[in-house]
Subunit: 201 residues, 2 copies
Amino acid sequence: MRPANPKNKVQILEMAIPLFAKSGFNGVSMRDIAAVVGISAAALYYHFSDKQSLYLQAVAQAFANKDETLTKTLATDDPPEQRLYNFILKFSELIYQDANFLSLLIREMLDGDDERLQKLTRQVFRMQFSSIIDLCKELAPKFDPHLLAVSIIGQLVYHIETKQVRVYLKGGKPEHNDPEVIADHIFNLIMYGLKSNCSVE
Amino acid sequence: MRPANPKNKVQILEMAIPLFAKSGFNGVSMRDIAAVVGISAAALYYHFSDKQSLYLQAVAQAFANKDETLTKTLATDDPPEQRLYNFILKFSELIYQDANFLSLLIREMLDGDDERLQKLTRQVFRMQFSSIIDLCKELAPKFDPHLLAVSIIGQLVYHIETKQVRVYLKGGKPEHNDPEVIADHIFNLIMYGLKSNCSVE
DNA sequence: GTCTATATACCGATAGAC
DNA sequence: GTCTATCGGTATATAGAC
């Protein structure tokens, strides 16, 4: 039978990404991927040398351009506070909209060996983390910029990561999943803390 | 051959916990567990009806008493600020010392279906989250207590979760992994924010 | 309570036709 | 580039001896 719709590598990767995000490397078989792509499992080996190679390329594909997108929001002429808010809102929207990206990221932090994590930080986070750290230094020289950057990103990630769980916890409301509500809350907390009356409602 | 050292369920669970924490449900086989326990894979089926049952009981075992421990630090006569600091430090030490607990928790949030997540929040987090929310209301009535509680726990979890990755990021220092350094940073940030000079009290 | 042996299914990967 | 067929290995789980 003549193949009606031959696939290229990127198409296959894009279809594999949600599978790996949902079930992890060990939870997805080559047959599973082949099924959603619409070809046989054997055909996957024409495009990729083995399963690990397919997985790593899928992760790289899912992470591509994320760093660039975020770094751009930090490299403007706006005042530092505005740049921080823009970054927080952009990051919030990014991980809210692209659930696969966040899942794969968390899975990589759990499963990746030292070599892969090093590569990950270089490819995905280096520029962005560098920019946010410089911004932290500018905004609050008294704070350790590394700890501060992790605190900001940690809140963003965790608010989205716990989306599914939080509805069962006390005080959970639907609007807590709105990326803008999350961003406003984090910015306000980071800037002014609990003991301030400078807060912006 | 006479069995030299028969195992009970709890012993098996305790030995399975680090395996599931490190490699996840799909990354651990019944043979793997049997090997570290020191019995045959078939013998596991005397204690557990199937792999899923063993896994769920291992998770329950790993999570047992965590809620109680944390809730206790919140139920004292100390002033609210002191209670918040005690909670942050205790939580920081807890997830730093028990890496299996945090790994399993994150994996459950990725893999658990709605039913399991609901059970998880009831068993592990309900009292603790309830107490921290009441404390948040007391400390900062102007903030949404749910968002605030997630921000506090999110920072704690993320600082420890990224332990392995952060060494490759700008400004990373060994002392950033000290649970007390993390706790002090988070408490200070939460209470006073970056603009501490414009706080009222 | 643990063993050996085994049933059954699925896995990753390859061979060779088209 | 994709197919069918298949290999060798491993998975979960069971049967039955001790």
